[in-house]
Symmetry: C2
Subunit: 428 residues, 2 copies
């Protein structure tokens, strides 16, 4: 039987997962592919430490050059992460005529164009299903299954750590810090959780998703990013009372020939399919003109789920090699759309503030909104204590800078003691 040789770059969580899956599925993969997939080399930093993780330590090497120079290696699976040296290795592999699978969202979100251009020039495959939403099939469905659609919206829960935190805050009434501590104890949050809780990890995935969905390159710096650190149990309770659930969403839209790409907490109707995505699960919701609404749900991280996506890509490339058609599905960014600044985006807002409990307060506040073109959809006044009332409003859709202007004026009013929360709400 024909043999197709792979090199793994990295033997961390994902690398180990890929090794395990390929070992477990060895015979089945051979039957599916019509050729044997063999891990010929694994690039690691520490040969001794890695030796315990593999059956045959002979496959381990700390020399990238050895892999690059090996003409038998036709596929390189980059699962080491980070911008460099991963970026250079991928470029060199493509230049050397090898195909590449990568799970590296950090890299693709900033240097995608350079890498895909290199793959395109050489007619090689550069697949990256694992880079977004871990094990969930989303890149291939968007590029192939939904190719007949003009996609207008991609909205995802693409970070498991923050979804776990928000789920605990909702289900158990925890405050943010308490839920974060629990996530850390259970291994759902990293030692330094900032990339997760500040939305950076989700922003990388949004950049990639938007590029694929709208056929126009979106990079990390195009994505407006806001995390969940300011969300309180009080806001979550209010949301629930009003029929909403707060999620950290990556949102990408195409509106009026421009792209919106942003990550922020959002109140979505509790009946929306994304609202029932709990714990560390991820989901990507899409809307296209033909398919209408669709959603893809599953595990967005973890050793084996992420390995599942990497191995799916290896399968596809192996079939391409056997059929002599590498580069069959390549970069699909054939448009060049501008990305809107967040100031120009239209949002609805939930605004919670502490105000003086006296006559005329609501009129004053309404007038600030009115003069900035902000219409109110819902007003709730409650939880009075001493001379303070809690005022909650939900606005109609408003251009963000108009909302920001209103907020500035409100903050300057003596009757407004505190702006406690401003959270975007789903809908136009």
């Amino acid at each position: 039987m024909e043999k197709i040789s792979i090199a793994l770059l990295g033997l961390g969580t994902v690398g180990t997962g890929v090794y395990k899956v390929l070992k477990a599925q060895k015979e089945d993969m051979a039957r599916k592919i019509g050729a044997e997939l063999e891990i010929k080399k694994i690039l690691v930093r520490n040969l001794e430490k890695a030796a315990g993780k593999v059956d045959d330590p002979g496959v381990l090497t700390n020399s990238w050059q050895e892999i690059l120079d090996d003409p038998q290696i036709q596929i390189v699976a980059e699962v080491m992460g980070g911008i460099e040296p991963a970026g250079t290795y991928i470029l060199q592999a493509l230049e050397a005529g090898k195909n590449v699978v990568t799970a590296n969202k950090d890299l693709l979100a900033v240097k995608g164009k350079e890498l895909f251009d290199a793959a395109g020039r050489k007619g090689q495959d550069l697949l990256f299903e694992a880079a977004v939403a871990g094990g969930i099939p989303i890149i291939r469905p968007l590029k192939q299954c939904l190719a007949g659609n003009h996609m207008t919206e991609v909205m995802g829960i693409v970070n498991g750590t923050t979804n776990f935190i928000l789920t605990r805050m909702l289900a158990d009434g925890m405050e943010f810090q308490e839920a974060l501590d629990l996530a850390s104890r259970l291994g759902y949050a990293e030692a330094d959780p900032s990339a997760d809780i500040e939305g950076l990890d989700a922003a990388r995935k949004v950049a990639i998703l938007a590029s694929v969905a709208f056929h126009s390159r979106v990079t990390l710096e195009d994505v407006y990013t806001e995390g969940i650190t300011k969300i309180t149990a009080t806001d979550i309770r209010y949301a629930r009372e009003m029929g909403y659930t707060i999620k950290l969403l990556g949102v990408a839209k195409e509106t009026e020939g421009a792209i919106e790409a942003r990550v922020h907490p959002m109140m979505i109707p509790s009946s929306h399919p994304l609202a029932s995505v709990k714990d560390s699960f991820n989901a990507v919701f899409v809307h296209g003109d033909a398919v209408d609404d669709a959603m893809f749900y599953g595990r967005g991280a973890g050793e084996l789920p992420t390995a599942s996506a990497v191995v799916g890509d290896l399968f596809d490339i192996a079939r391409n090699i056997r059929f002599g058609c590498c580069g069959r599905i390549s970069c699909t960014c054939y448009r060049n759309l501008p990305v809107k600044k967040i100031d120009e985006v239209t949002s609805r807002y939930f605004l919670r503030m502490q105000v003086d409990d006296q006559c005329g307060v609501l009129a004053s506040i309404s007038s600030v909104f009115g003069s900035n073109g902000v219409s109110l959809a819902q007003v709730i006044q409650k939880a009075k204590q001493q001379d303070t009332a809690e005022l909650v409003v939900i606005t109609e859709g408003v251009v963000e800078r108009h909302f920001a202007d209103s907020l500035k004026i409100l903050k300057g009013l003596s009757i407004v003691k505190e702006i406690s929360a401003a959270i975007r709400v789903y809908g136009d």
Copy 2:
């Protein structure tokens, strides 16, 4: 620009959808494919009736031979439905070296092997994303993205009519007939709804899904099928009280080297992702050893969603034609597993019955279950009226024939006045 010519067989709902999508996406498809996708011929029965549906009636023909003999036509999209003549046309198209897209679940569920064998012999593509769950990408994800998994479970809400009916019964407390009437009025149910409400439509999809997921051919006659006509508002209310939602599920499992394939109403925990799939939406939930749980959600029927799936297949074949790699992903049934009889399957059961309201009844009933090896997980006795009590039990997992034996004996007991409902419950 290179031109790739297609023939559409049929201009009903799906055919019209494909025509519309290809027209709307003409320029984008050309850029995605690198070639122009042209509908050269459309096979219709009535040329005059069809003329109003297309821009250029010159593409219409009522001669299959004309299409078959046209060497320029490289792809045939069969969207006419039914077993014949669709089956013969597909075979002839494949034999003539044409690639085929089909949305025809009826045909694939009974004659899949013959068709895929023909495609395999000729190295042609035979794609069928639209045949299961309409617009939802599921076939390609299973065959490609999840190729690294040993799949053990596929569970789907794959019939929109019945999901709409069950949703209304749950949300509005309707009885079955009332909800069916509403579905008919709103166009969610066909004039003769029996294939939907009796589970036959779902069974066809389960046969296809099981074949793809487990790499072993499952045909319609292998699928145990039970519809939703006996479900009552009372059972739905009980289910909700106990934390369950009743759905018509297509279930396919691989257990102990055999396949289970069945369609029946099932109580699933209301926290399960499938429980929140409402109205006419479809969803397919899968479990694999690497990916863990994943779910695919969207519109399972309708003109444009189904067309979205057909056009995705056309895109893929067009890329294959350009890269000279048709037949790249072919039939993957390389195993030959037995399909279990329903008698041998293990299920949990919800059983609701009317019994005499007297001492010792529960003991008698428990003893019937006990002597047939059926353990009870939950017992509720309530709703007494006159001398009758309503007894509800949920069993632990039990081999179906043992449960059936218990039921026969219970029916013979004088203290049991009526077996009101027996519904399977999710879990082993």
